[in-house]
Amino acid sequence: MVDLGQTVLGVEFQNPILLASGCCGYGEEYAGLIALDELGGLVTKAVTREPRIGNPPPRVSETPAGMINAIGLANVGLERFRREKLPWLRENLRRAYVLVNVAGWTVEDFVHVVRGLDDAEGFLAYELDASCPNVERGAEFATDEALLGQLVRSVRAATQRPIVVKLSPQVPDIGRFAEICETEGADGVSTINTFPGLLIDVERRRPIIGNVTGGISGPAIRPMGVYATWCAARRVRIPVIGIGGISGAADALEYMLAGAPLVQIGTALFVDPEVVCQTLEGLRAYGERHGVHRLADLVGALEA
C-alpha cells in the first residue's frame, strides 16, 4: 500500500489532489460525477465582496492543448456563499479539505471577505487570487511586489487561518513573489494562475471571447507551471501548491518532484471528470512500481 497523504497547512491531506478554483464551482455541481470526499480537497470558485455577474459571453473557447476563459469572477458573493454554499461543503466534505478562493480589487476587498467568513465552519484556509487585473494602481497584486506585500500583510492581520497566495506566472521571477508571501506571513503559495491570451476569429476579425482577452489554461501551460513551481519551491520553506495543465498522475508527479506537496486539477476536469480517479490510481501504481511507500518522500526529489 502506498501512502498518498501529505501533511500541509497544519493538517493531513489524504492525498495530494485538489480541484482548482473556478473549475469545480462550489463542489455541489460535481457531486454526482466525482467522489469529492475521496480527494485531498477542493478550492472554491472565487468569492468576492459583492455578487458578480461576470463578463459577456462567449467566456470560454478552445486553444491548442488548452482553453481560454474570461469568466470575469462571476460568483454569488460573500453573503450567499456563506449562507448557501458553505453549509453544503461542510456537510458533504468530511475528509477532503476546502480552500476558499478570495478575489478583490483592493486590499480592503480581500480583508472584508476574509473577515466575513472567518468564523464560519466548513473550510480550512483561504487561497488569495492575487491575479485580478486592473486593481489599485493599475497592476495586479501578483505582479507588483509592494502591492502583494501589502495584501498578504493585511489579510494575515485579519485571520488565524492558513493563507495560500495564488501567484501569476506573468512575472520574470516568480520566486521573488513567493518570498514576499513567505516574509509577510503567508502559509503557502500556489502556482500558477492562467496566462493572458487573445484568440481571434479571423473570418469575422473579432475576438472570440466577449471580454476580448482571457486566461490560458490546460496542458499547454504545464511546462510553465512546473517551472514556476520549481522556482518558487527552491526559494521558500512554505509549501507550494502546483497548478497548471495536470491531466493525470505523470503530470501531478512532475509538480511533486518539482517541490509541490499538493497539486490542483482544473481544465482537465472539463475534458473528463474521471481524471481525478485516474490520477489517484496512477499515483498509487507509480508508488508501487517504484517502491515508494510514502508519496510525500517524492516532494522536491527532482535530481537537477
Binding site: P56, P57, M67, S247, E274
Partner: protein
C-alpha cells in the same frame, strides 16, 4: 451519428444535450468536449445530428465505427410540453436536432399532441433528407430554403401562423430566434427556445456558458445554458448583453 450510450439514452428528454469529446489528452481542435442536442434516443442508442462548423465538429463527424468518444449526459433543461396539444416546432439549420427526437417522445410520454415541424436552411444542399426526418421523427417537415431550391422559398419565420397552436418550440440561430420571439410577443402563445453558447464543463461549474435572461422584473441576469438551459422560456431571453 449513433452512439451506444444506454444510460444517457434511457433518461433523455427532448431539448437536453450531451457533452461529447475524445477525453484526455484530446486532439488538436477537439480538446474541450462539445455540447450536442440529443437527436434520438432509442433503446441503448443515442443519436446526434452534427453539422461541420469548425475543427471540433469536423473531428467528431470523422469518428469511425469502433472508435470511442466520451459522452456526458443527459444534461440541462428540456422542452416542457405541459398540457399543450398543438405544438409548433421551428428549426433553423442544425437546430433540427432536438426535433428529430421530440415528436416520437411526445407520442410516448404525452400522447394526444399534434406536432408540426417547420425546418429551414439557407440552401437546399444543406437540408437534412426529409424522408429521413419523417422516418426518425414520425412527422412530415415543412421545409424552407432561402434560395427556394427545396420546399418553400424564404425563411421559416416568413409565414408562421402561431394563432392556432398552444406552444411554440424553437431551436436555431440567434437571428431566427429573435424574429420568432418578436412574432410571438403579445400573442399569448407560450414559447420555449433552445439556445447555444460555447461551453467548458457542461455541468455548471465553470460558469462559461451564460445567456442574459429576464430577472423577475429586476432587469436581467446571466443564467448558465448548461444547467438552467439550454431550453428557456422565450419571453425571458434577453440574449447577450
Amino acid at each position: 451519428m449513433e452512439f451506444a450510450a444506454p444510460e444517457i439514452a434511457g433518461q433523455a428528454i427532448p431539448g437536453q444535450f450531451v457533452m461529447i469529446g475524445l477525453g484526455l489528452p484530446g486532439e488538436p481542435g477537439l480538446f474541450l468536449p462539445r455540447p450536442m442536442s440529443i437527436a434520438q434516443a432509442e433503446g441503448e442508442r443515442l443519436g446526434l445530428l452534427i453539422r461541420i462548423f469548425g475543427a471540433g465538429s469536423r473531428r467528431l463527424t470523422a469518428l469511425e465505427v469502433g472508435e470511442r468518444a466520451l459522452l456526458l449526459g443527459p444534461l440541462g433543461s428540456f422542452f416542457d410540453l405541459g398540457s399543450a396539444t398543438r405544438v409548433l416546432c421551428v428549426a433553423g439549420g442544425v437546430g433540427l436536432a432536438p426535433f428529430l427526437f421530440l415528436p416520437r417522445w411526445a407520442e410516448r410520454h404525452a400522447p394526444g399532441n399534434r406536432v408540426h415541424l417547420v425546418y429551414g436552411e439557407r440552401t437546399a444542399s444543406a437540408v437534412f433528407d426529409p424522408g429521413r426526418i419523417h422516418e426518425l421523427a414520425g412527422v412530415e417537415p415543412e421545409i424552407w430554403t432561402e434560395d427556394g431550391a427545396m420546399g418553400r422559398m424564404g425563411r421559416v419565420t416568413d409565414r408562421l401562423d402561431v394563432a392556432r397552436v398552444d406552444l411554440v418550440l424553437g431551436c436555431g440561430p440567434v437571428p431566427m430566434l429573435k424574429t420568432l420571439q418578436a412574432q410571438i410577443a403579445g400573442t399569448g402563445v407560450p414559447a420555449q427556445f433552445s439556445v447555444e453558447e460555447r461551453m467548458g464543463c457542461g455541468v455548471g461549474t465553470c460558469v462559461g456558458c451564460v445567456v442574459a435572461v429576464e430577472d423577475g422584473g429586476r432587469g436581467w441576469r446571466y443564467e448558465r445554458i448548461c444547467v438552467e438551459g439550454p431550453v428557456f422560456s422565450a419571453e425571458r431571453l434577453r440574449w447577450s448583453i
